[in-house]
Amino acid sequence: MSDGVGTSMTSAEHATDHLDVALEHYSVADIEAVQPHAASARTAEWSRLVGPLVIFVLFVAAWHYMHTDGMRRFFDKPGFLLPAPETVLHDSFLKPLARASLLNGLKWTTLVALLGLAMTIVIGVSIAVTMSQAKWVERSTYPYLVALQAIPILSVVPIINSVFGGGINSRLFVCVVISIFPIVTNTLFGLTSADAGQHDLFTLRGASRWTRLVKLQLPSAMPAIFTGFRISAGLSVIGAVVGEQFFRKGSKPGIGIVMEQYRQKNLYAQTYGGLLLAALLGIVVFLVFGRVSKLVVGHWHESSRKPD
């Protein structure tokens, strides 16, 4: 695309001194043509702000409507089942007692979710790397992964309970089971996606399996691996909260436990407050991984734009 810039000049030079062509250099202008345009960047800046704002206002309005009128009109249920947004905010975060217990719950949930995610990443990537080493390994283990994905986790709660106890270990187990599938599939997809020509390069110099894995397959899998991380991070938060609904032993009441306690007391505003926090945690984890992904692969991968 940008080769054309320097060419009219060179064809003129061809006639005089063709041997020097090898020593010619491209001008920096060749490269700058690839950078995005400034005007379109400003438009993007606008839509980045306005779009989310409009959707947010609509979301809060719809929520409010559901409280005042919608619940009764559509579902024939009382409005208190879905307290108004301002009630949720007030009762959950402006009352010191509720705020303290919700934030404390958030702390433990975050801990379990992150710990679970770390375990998922280590186990998931290891499984994917093993599977990528031979087609027969992949073929013979894949069905179990799919089966794992299909297990209704609620139906095995008693078994998990008797194996791992009612504390944090069971919650971690649920986290890993719920969130491991996307990491394995995305990593595996990434590891097998390096193109045949690049593999040929490594074959030419007789590269070992290890060299190929470390210098070719893993780096080229990074974008896919990060996609897996992002999806699994969200699932891990869900896993942590779900786990808390069933395993409540120990002195670490996560947000799921706190929510359940409020629900039992019919304190719906605080229950939704907990829900908001859990969702917020999911969003933050998702954004953090997006940012990390940009930092790691943004400078070379097409689909993730540079942070500017």
Partner: protein, 265 residues
Amino acid sequence: MEPTTTTPTRNTRLIAMSDSVSAPALSFSGVSMVFPDGTHALSETSFDVRAGEFVTVVGPSGCGKSTLLRIASGLNKATTGTVSVDRSHLGYVFQDPTLLQWRNVQRNVELMAELEGVPKDERRVRATEAIELVGLKGFENKYPKQLSGGMRMRASLARSLVLDPKVFLFDEPFGAVDEITRERLNDEVISLFQRNGFAGLFITHSISEAVFLSTRIIVMSARPGRIVGDFTVPFSYPRSPDLRFDAAFAELSGEISHALRGAHS
């Protein structure tokens, strides 16, 4: 398939035929290739390429030209026949630049030396030299997605140069770049050839590219490929771009085109 211990003399600057006493740097004898799916790609192909010789193979699509290079490099194994070549100094430029997207130009160019176990300092020096030779100085820190097609091809050339190739294989490397870039890259290949005196084996669809670059042109038939024409190119190096408009150039191109048409039928 054992590589022989052929060691072409270093720094050979001599051109073509004058070197005919030395052993060939690359030698095909009776090479045939039948793929597992039954495709008969090559049939009983024999020829040699010596240091200071630049041989180009032209032929219809699917006549097994690229397969020749894959066999020479050891990527594929011939069904029958043997190839002898020293693969420790083998350059191979593919149809696509096949750069690693996550490495900048410098580190891409270092790759082959890195896989060969060349120490860090040494390969850095060699890469810097190669990058300068192909005219990419100043672009060491750019990533492949920031480069034009022609520049990526230059990086790919440089990557092979760090191994100081005695045998240099080119698999239709400039098929995807525009005409003017292709001519510039041809000039560079010639100056590298003159500078290093490697044994070159080049694959192309373009007759004028073949005549412009080579000391010898081999015409292959449609599948299964076998040699149906063998031309010596009489022009001396360095070759001026104006050579393309020379009467002798046109005449030779015409003969090769004729042989190719025969190969198609």
